[in-house]
């Protein structure tokens, strides 16, 4: 597999959220607004890239019997650093995401990539893989949060995470009389996710059927 393919794998083909069903907890919980989704996505990308790089650096000296505890300690340290930074510089984001920032430690995507990729590949490839998977995750939660926020409040907005009063943009898409507030509730999260996963599966099935038809000819 060449570098470019490896980098783009996380976008659609091996999308960690809709394809592999990893990191579902945060995906369902924090996608109520676009702000939360972008903040969470950036935090996950940072942790994922750094953990992949560090784990790839020490892959030759880590005894394979205790590799999982070693990975978890590295990830926990990185997450704690990110959590402290968010708390200091973006307190609004910290209170919005709440416990889901420390819970990045147990986000399956990060440990999954450490085990499946970074423990076997060179440092540069691992960083690239972390970035690709992180972007795949971020795009998925951004799509979900846009759908949920627009349907639930009718407004799509993005505020500067470091200064809450500064609204970067705000558009009213659906008139206030037609909003479906259910989409900010848990059921909205489950339904939105199921629909997106179903659409992606339908696309994949259609592609596979086409490929099969071609082979038949």
């Amino acid at each position: 597999m060449n570098r470019k393919e490896n980098f783009t794998a996380g976008f659609i083909r091996e999308n960690p959220v809709f394809g592999l069903y990893l990191g579902l907890c945060s995906t369902l919980a924090i996608t109520t607004t676009l702000n939360n989704a972008i903040g969470m996505g950036v935090a996950v990308i940072l942790v994922l890239v750094m953990s992949n790089v560090i784990i790839s650096c020490i892959r030759k000296i880590t005894p394979s019997e205790i590799r999982i505890p070693v990975y978890i300690v590295i990830i926990a340290t990185l997450v704690k650093i990110i959590q402290m930074l968010i708390k200091a510089y973006a307190p609004a984001l910290d209170s919005a995401l709440g416990v889901f920032i420390p819970l990045i430690v147990v986000n399956c995507i990060i440990l999954g990539r450490a085990e499946a990729f970074a423990s076997k590949n060179s440092i540069f490839d691992s960083a690239l893989d972390g970035l690709g998977m992180g972007i795949g995750y971020t795009c998925s939660i951004i799509v979900m949060s846009i759908i949920r926020q627009v349907l639930a409040t009718g407004i799509l907005s993005f505020e500067n995470p470091f200064n809450v009063e500064q609204v970067l943009f705000q558009v009213q898409i659906i008139p206030e009389d037609y909003i479906i507030s259910m989409f900010s509730q848990p059921i909205g999260a489950f339904i939105t996710f199921a629909m997106l996963a179903g659409i992606l599966a339908a696309c994949k099935n259609a592609k596979a059927a086409k490929a099969q038809a071609k082979e038949g000819n």
Binding site: Q185, A189, F190
Partner: protein, 193 residues
């Protein structure tokens, strides 16, 4: 602390603020081991044991070791190590006592380490400032709620296997829609307390 408050707290965290349907934690095992009701119960029991034990150990560690030593920022790292070791212990116990269950739980047993419910409970015990009785109630209520929902969900999924579902929604997507319906039903319990 009187008992009625603890009881209200128990009901709140099992039914109203249910850990899976309301707080979206532990979705991975919720989707993963819910295909058979017997393994769902086994998973629930294992998670309950790990959560109660982990809460007791981390609560003690935080207030007797980390806080006196001004090492509060080490909480995440300490807690995850405690959880990982406890899961290893449970895995050994189940392997010895019930090989059938061990096989049914499969890869999801070591994955209790990365079950967000466990870490969430241990962290919340500290951040919410619970006293000992509240901490114990909370650490029992959460896994009980988890087991309850997991069991109900698994019985629905057993029926779902036999039903005719659109091709694209087979497997996880339709299960998620069912989970959404359950979340809606459970939100009706909000008036209970």
């Amino acid at each position: 602390m009187d008992l009625s408050n603890l009881f209200v707290m128990f009901i709140t965290f099992t039914l109203i603020n249910n850990v899976v349907l309301n707080q979206f934690l532990g979705i991975c095992p919720f989707m993963g081991v819910s295909k058979k009701s017997s393994s769902a119960l086994g998973m629930g029991a294992a998670v309950t044991f790990v959560i109660v034990a982990a809460s007791l150990v981390t609560y003690g560690l935080y207030y007797w070791v980390l806080e006196p030593a001004d090492l509060e920022y080490m909480d995440l790292i300490t807690f995850i190590l405690v959880i990982a070791s406890l899961v290893q212990l449970v895995e050994m116990i189940i392997k010895k006592t019930s090989p059938g269950l061990y096989k049914a739980l499969g890869v999801y047993l070591p994955l209790i380490t990365t079950n967000c419910v466990v870490l969430n409970v241990t962290l919340n015990n500290i951040t919410e400032g619970y006293n000992f009785a509240e901490m114990l109630t909370y650490s029992i209520a959460i896994p009980v709620g988890f087991t309850l929902v997991l069991y109900i969900f698994s019985t629905i999924r057993e029926r779902l296997e036999l039903s005719n579902v659109p091709q694209a929604f087979k497997g996880n997507p339709i299960a998620l829609i069912v989970a959404g319906m359950m979340a809606l039903a459970f939100s009706g319990l909000a008036g209970l307390v």
